[in-house]
């Protein structure tokens, strides 16, 4: 079909060093970036281009900032950042009338003893909750209580270090919420997350209300080297869960679980058909990152070969590379 060419205007971040992460907010109207220059920046994006209006620079970290993550807007404009300095900061924009306000650090989380590599906000239904994965092998979970206090939970997760963390969708797929009747309770949403470790393992953790603690629920074995990233797919409307994992072993595995009681089944993405000849199921280099689209139907895979490939399940249920991005 006709494809009108459109000019692409890059966002000049003006960071003093390489950037490590860039994330768009809930509406895709703002961009947050973080860098080795120890800062986080926030830009307004208007019609796909950066706004000329002021950008904000958030300072405070004392090491490279690895990741940024936007909270759900029902909690206000909140942003979390994690750094090599072992700290996690939560920033909030204090509204000033209708104009964008100033960003202030509202929480400093310093319980980790090594670099914090990854952060992830829980599904909004669970409240304002942030999970953090650290090189000290621990995962911490920060929960906002009473609209003001952040309460941490911290537990050992992976022996040598924890590289990434991702939350399961909060609601059972396909469940409907009906207008609440007085005296009835909605089924409580469950807190579950998945982590990727330097022990080549992927682990699923669940919060037990009765003991008020996080317990290892399942471990997914399949990678033969460090697991670099993990992404639990959003609820796609079926009673099935998908997890994507990326590893130093040059593979991406898609783990599926058909129902809450069935086992996890793994499938490797096969890039051999579209790229230079590699052993089946192997990417040309280490796979660093996996991320799902909002509807959970497209998976973006960042490989060490300088390419990003986009994957989609075709009509036959086979994962196919639908597009690739290169510099």
């Amino acid at each position: 079909m006709p494809a009108p060419s459109s000019g692409v205007v890059p966002v000049e971040t003006a960071h003093d060093d390489m950037i490590h992460d860039a994330q768009l907010d809930y509406y895709g109207k703002r961009l947050a970036t973080c860098s080795s220059d120890r800062t986080v920046k926030v830009f307004d994006i208007v019609n796909g281009s950066p706004s000329k209006a002021a950008s904000h620079t958030l300072k405070g970290h004392t090491g490279p900032v690895w990741q940024v993550a936007w909270a759900h807007p029902k909690f206000g404009n909140m942003l979390a950042s994690c750094s090599y300095d072992g700290k996690v900061f939560i920033w909030k924009e204090q509204a000033q009338g209708t104009t964008s306000g100033e960003w202030t650090k509202i929480e400093e989380h310093a319980l980790h003893t090594a670099s914090v590599n990854s952060i992830s906000w829980a599904p909004h239904e669970l409240g304002a909750i942030l999970a953090c994965a650290s090189s000290d092998g621990k995962i911490s979970v920060l929960t906002l209580k009473d609209d003001s206090k952040w309460v941490p939970d911290i537990f050992n997760a992976h022996a040598i270090g924890c590289n990434a963390v991702s939350w399961a969708p909060a609601t059972h797929p396909g469940s409907l919420i009906l207008p609440q009747q007085p005296g009835t309770h909605q089924p409580s949403a469950f807190k579950r997350l998945v982590s990727a470790g330097c022990d080549n393992l992927v682990k699923i953790w669940c919060f037990r209300e009765e003991t008020q603690s996080w317990v290892e629920e399942e471990r997914l074995e399949g990678h033969t080297d460090w697991v670099r990233d993990v992404a639990w797919a959003p609820n796609i409307g079926l009673p099935r869960s998908y997890i994507a994992t990326a590893s130093q072993d040059k593979t991406v595995l898609i783990w599926t679980k058909d129902s809450p009681t069935s086992p996890w089944v793994k499938t490797a993405l096969d890039p051999s058909a579209s790229t230079t000849p590699n052993p089946a199921g192997k990417f040309p280099d280490v796979v660093w990152r996996v991320s799902w689209s909002l509807a959970g139907n497209i998976l973006a895979v960042s490989c060490g070969d300088g390419k990003v490939t986009l994957w989609k399940e075709n009509l036959q249920g086979i994962w196919e590379c639908v597009s690739d991005l290169a510099s």
Partner: protein, 726 residues
């Protein structure tokens, strides 16, 4: 496997072919998806392992973030087309709603099929109009647009002819309909050629004469044929002159199906007509070898080809088409008109397969590939090619194919649990999402695709930008502020209505909560409360009330009463709402009553203010945390000189509550009782809450002393007790 679409960023981060250098320098590409339109933010990142050895970059371009999308957003033309055809799609949805769970229509098949045909013709007409419109605009916009709509038009009309004939005509011969389709969409021979030949005195001397005449006969164009055969009356060969005269009536009497009521009559007429053609062949064969050529052309061979076509000789039609440069379509269509006049839709694939063996289609032309698949009776293949041509086409074809049972209604496989129709309609919605302004259309298509579609649509709906911060509000100008609010909620209301329409309660509540949070930030507490109650988020509502109460602590009574006047009206509605949680309603009641109290103080209506204060404490409306604040408020009233404002009993209430605060604080529960007072004192620049409480005690002591002097329970104050006005 087909090659995957490839996207590059501009200006390039790395020069072409230098990706290796990028990798060697220890960097790669990362992406982040944009919820707005599924585009991707792309940026260079250093890899962890090489971080320490890496030199600090000098080129600031390396810190740029690029936005790329595999789906360019639609043009204005295209948007109109998408919008208009979505109305037909909606009509189709209403039609298929009459299908029960087993795929059986509750309405009669005949009426369903007629309705689908009508809608299909609507699509055909829209595609045609868009083609005509864009062709006229050609020059201003890309010619490719016009060509694109033309190809949609050919595919849709072919689909309609082959799969949606008039009801009852499914088993009728299809040749004439296909010839009409071919003549509309692939016009041959060209008008220019005809004009050129008609200007010649002896047109048969022109090399284009016979090919033109042959093609006009093949296409069944009676006027052109009669005219040029007529010119042969001047030809030097008497035989040709005679033959031309004989063939003219034959051509004009070739039976057409549409002129017959019964197919049997048509078949009989065709048979008799074929007999006459045989006579012509005999006549032709009688022409002596010596007269079969004129000085330009072997006219006899040319004429023999024409008679061969009329006789329905396959090999002649193929040869003629090849000579004329016609493609497989022309051969197949001519087959149905000349070779097998009773050719039916179901027989077509066999014929097409035969023809394609010698005349394969061009696999790079997607339109042709869709035509081949439709001719071959392979709807799945047609959809596959259509999806590459335009996701719009595959979505709308699949949408019509399902109720016609051309594709499975059930899920194709266990993995995706999507039916063929759902798969293609959802693929189209992903394209639609490239334009966030089309969210209404996007979700209407998504919600027609089962649970998977609904989940995807929810994600779109909850992310429709609410534009709650687009206009500055000026709280000093109330008229402007109201107009602003009307504007403000427009998108939220629209999204809310859409959620209601598709019964997406969870999505609706999420949107309401976001709106409420935004209004809280803007201190539009009244709107915040109405959105939290709409979302049935009672803790959220409680937080708004706390925020309003904090306004008292931070900004004092005047600001506070102003804010409460914004939330007071919602109290009535919430009391009537049985689902509303009592605790939060109670807190709201306190906020309103407390504001009334301050309003009276500001108005110097001290007697009523005193009565308000005591009743808030007596009725248990005031939370314990606020008791101390209320008691401090009482100091001024207790000290009012002209007249005592509290009855003895009321003063005792104040004393009792004061005692409770002091004794509980002594027991270590100070946090519960003094928190609010302390934060207020802090803002006022004072620190000691105990000191304040002592002032209350002192004021009370003095008051009791006054009461004793006037006489216990002075008359004025007693009257107040029996005259409750609030």
């Amino acid at each position: 496997m087909r090659s995957t679409p490839h996207l590059d960023v501009l200006p390039p981060l790395v020069e072409a072919g230098k990706t290796d250098e990028l990798v060697e320098s220890g960097r790669t590409l990362f992406t982040a998806v944009s919820p707005l339109n599924d585009s991707y933010a792309v940026f260079l990142v250093p890899l962890f392992e090489k971080l320490s050895t890496r030199p600090k970059p000098t080129d600031s371009d390396e810190q740029n973030v690029y936005f790329v999308s595999s789906k360019p957003p639609p043009s204005t033309e295209r948007r109109l087309f998408i919008g208009d055809t979505s109305i037909i799609f909606a009509a189709m949805q209403n039609l298929t709603k009459t299908v029960d769970k087993n795929g059986v229509y509750s309405t009669q098949q005949e009426s369903i099929q007629r309705s689908i045909r009508k809608l299909a013709l609507d699509y055909v007409n829209f595609a045609r109009e868009c083609w005509i419109h864009t062709s006229r605009m050609a020059g201003e916009i890309d010619q490719a647009d016009a060509d694109h709509y033309r190809s949609l038009y050919t595919c849709l009309s072919l689909f309609t002819i082959l799969y949606l004939p008039e009801y009852g005509m499914e088993n009728a011969p299809v040749g004439d309909d296909l010839m009409e389709w071919l003549n509309i969409h692939f016009i041959e021979p060209s008008t220019e050629e005809g004009d050129h030949l008609s200007g010649l005195e002896r047109p048969w001397e022109d090399e284009t004469f016979w090919p033109y005449l042959t093609r006009a006969i093949l296409r069944g164009l009676p006027k052109a044929v009669a005219f040029f055969l007529g010119t042969l009356a001047e030809h030097p060969s008497g035989n040709l002159r005679r033959l031309a005269q004989s063939i003219i009536p034959l051509l004009s009497t070739q039976p057409k199906l549409q002129h017959f009521d019964a197919e049997r009559d048509f078949a009989y007429a065709s048979h008799r007509w074929r007999e006459k053609v045989k006579m012509l062949r005999i006549e032709l064969d009688d022409v002596p070898e010596s007269d079969r050529r004129d000085s330009f052309e072997d006219w006899w061979d040319r004429f023999s080809d024409i008679v061969g076509i009329l006789e329905g000789r396959e090999e002649v039609i193929r040869k003629v088409c090849e000579d004329l440069g016609a493609d497989w379509r022309e051969v197949c269509v001519a087959w149905g008109v000349f070779v097998d006049t009773r050719l039916r839709r179901q027989d077509l694939p066999d014929v097409v397969a035969q023809v394609l063996e010698d005349m394969p289609p061009d696999p790079t032309i997607l339109e042709d590939m869709v035509h081949v698949a439709l001719f071959m009776g392979d709807p799945l293949k047609a959809l596959e090619h259509a999806a590459q041509l335009d996701p719009w086409l595959s979505a709308h074809l699949a949408d019509m194919m399902e109720p016609l049972s051309l594709v499975e209604q059930q899920a194709v496989n266990d993995e995706s649990e999507l039916s063929v129709r759902e798969f293609y309609v959802l693929s189209y919605t992903h394209y639609l999402h490239s334009d966030p302004a089309m969210w209404r259309i996007t979700v209407s298509y998504m919600y027609s695709c089962g649970k998977v579609g609904a989940a995807a649509a929810d994600e779109i709906l909850v992310r429709v930008p609410l534009r709650l911060q687009s206009k500055p509000s000026n709280t000093n100008d109330s008229s402007h502020s109201q107009a602003d609010q009307g504007d403000l909620s427009a998108v939220v209301k629209d999204v809310n209505a859409t959620c209601h329409e598709y019964q997406r309660e969870a999505a609706r509540r999420t949107v309401c909560k976001i709106a409420a949070q935004t209004f809280v930030q803007r201190k539009e507490y009244g709107l915040a409360i109405s959105y939290y109650s709409s979302a049935e988020d009672w803790p959220g509502l409680g937080r708004v009330i706390d925020r309003v109460l904090q306004e008292y602590i931070r900004s004092g009574p005047e600001q506070y009463t102003k804010f409460v006047s914004g939330i007071a009206p919602s109290l009535q509605g919430l009391r009537a709402n049985s689902a509303a949680h009592g605790v939060f309603i109670h807190r709201l009641m306190f906020a309103v009553r407390y504001a009334e109290f301050h309003q009276r103080l500001l108005n110097r209506d001290l007697q009523d203010a005193a009565w308000d204060l005591v009743s808030m404490l007596q009725e248990g409306i005031a939370p314990k945390a606020w008791w101390a604040v209320l008691l401090c408020d009482a100091i001024e009233l207790l000290q009012y000189d002209p007249t005592p404002l509290f009855s003895y009993a009321s003063a005792c209430t104040l004393l009792r509550d004061l005692d409770e605060i002091i004794s509980r604080t002594a027991q270590g529960a100070g946090e519960d009782y003094l928190k609010i007072l302390e934060s207020k004192l802090q803002i006022d620049g004072q620190k000691d809450s105990q000191k304040q409480l002592q002032l209350v005690r002192f004021a009370l002591a003095k008051y009791f002393a006054r009461c004793a002097m006037i006489g216990t329970g002075g008359t004025q104050t007693v009257r107040r007790m029996v005259d409750p006005t609030v």
